[in-house]
């Protein structure tokens, strides 16, 4: 199975100069726990709910920008990468989500949840077509 079969396309992203207030609104709207940070179309980092909550609540500052708390550089994967290989990378590096890029351009996002359930589904029913998560 490949990343492109289960990745979420058209992910909601933020820019490095966006404020945390803007990032919080996007995160609420996206329904996820991670946002890719893009400079143009290039992925330069990932912002997680934990980064936001702990930076803004545990160590409040007047005006924080995304670039100040994002994890950068971002680890990424490609749409043609094997899911098993990506799962190994996510597990060993303890990464909750990976932006999917094609020639440096953001094309999707893949989370631990997506990978785990795709692998379980494939293990239980190898012939089944994997549905893309909503």
């Amino acid at each position: 199975m490949k990343v492109k079969q289960i990745m979420k396309t058209s992910p909601v992203a933020v820019g490095p100069e966006d404020t945390l207030r803007q990032a919080i609104q996007r995160m609420a709207w996206s329904g996820g726990r991670h946002l890719p940070v893009t400079d143009g179309e290039r992925v330069i980092g990932v912002l997680s709910a934990r980064d936001v909550a702990t930076a803004q609540i545990a160590a409040p500052a007047t005006v924080l920008r995304v670039r100040e708390i994002m994890k950068s550089p971002a680890q990424t994967c490609g749409p043609e990468d094997s899911l098993t290989e990506v799962m190994g990378r996510m597990a060993s590096a303890k990464i909750g989500c990976l932006p999917v890029t094609e020639q440096g351009r953001l094309v999707g996002m893949i989370t631990v949840t997506d990978v785990l359930f795709a692998q379980v589904q494939e293990a239980m029913d190898p012939g089944a077509e994997t549905a893309r998560p909503s």
């Binding site: 919080i24 709910a49 909550a53 609540i57 545990a58 799962m87 190994g88």
Partner: protein, 147 residues
């Protein structure tokens, strides 16, 4: 393999009368994305809720509330899905999927908090299992070729 064998025993907890500010500081210090909210009952520590980093973002920051004035009891998920230590991992996965949760407290026979299982832990275990399986298959293939 059951939940008791895979769960993390060192659970980071909080109480419902602690504030969101305290919770965020603890998440930061302990490098976790959730706290299990517990209360003492007859000498046992019983899980009663869960607060995640996303709860703090959505229920506190996004609404402009003052983190030092919001109690965890006000924002924690009230319906806590737990599994007991004897539950098989496949059943844990099904329960997680069914309930739309990515973290599950594990309880002992008395209902006390015994550990926590997260997607990340399950993914790590599954990756190790797959790697072991691949090694075994390759070994068998080598043996077959040698015959």
């Amino acid at each position: 393999v059951n939940a008791g064998e895979l769960c993390i025993r060192d659970v980071v907890t909080a109480e419902s009368d602690e504030t969101a500010e305290t919770a965020a500081a603890r998440m930061r210090a302990r490098h976790v994305g959730d706290l299990i909210v517990v209360e003492p009952r007859d000498g046992r520590t019983v899980p009663i809720g869960i607060v995640t980093d996303r709860d703090l973002v959505l229920s506190v920051l996004a609404t402009g509330r003052e983190p030092g004035a919001v109690l965890l009891g006000q924002i924690m998920g009230r319906v806590l899905v737990t599994v007991d230590e004897q539950t098989e991992i496949t059943a844990v996965l099904s329960a997680m999927k069914e309930n739309g949760v990515r973290r599950m407290p594990v309880i002992d026979a008395d209902g006390a908090l015994a550990g926590i299982l997260t997607y990340d832990d399950l993914l790590e275990w599954m990756a190790e299992e797959l790697a072991a399986m691949v090694t075994l298959v390759r070994k068998e293939q080598r043996l077959e070729r040698g015959r």
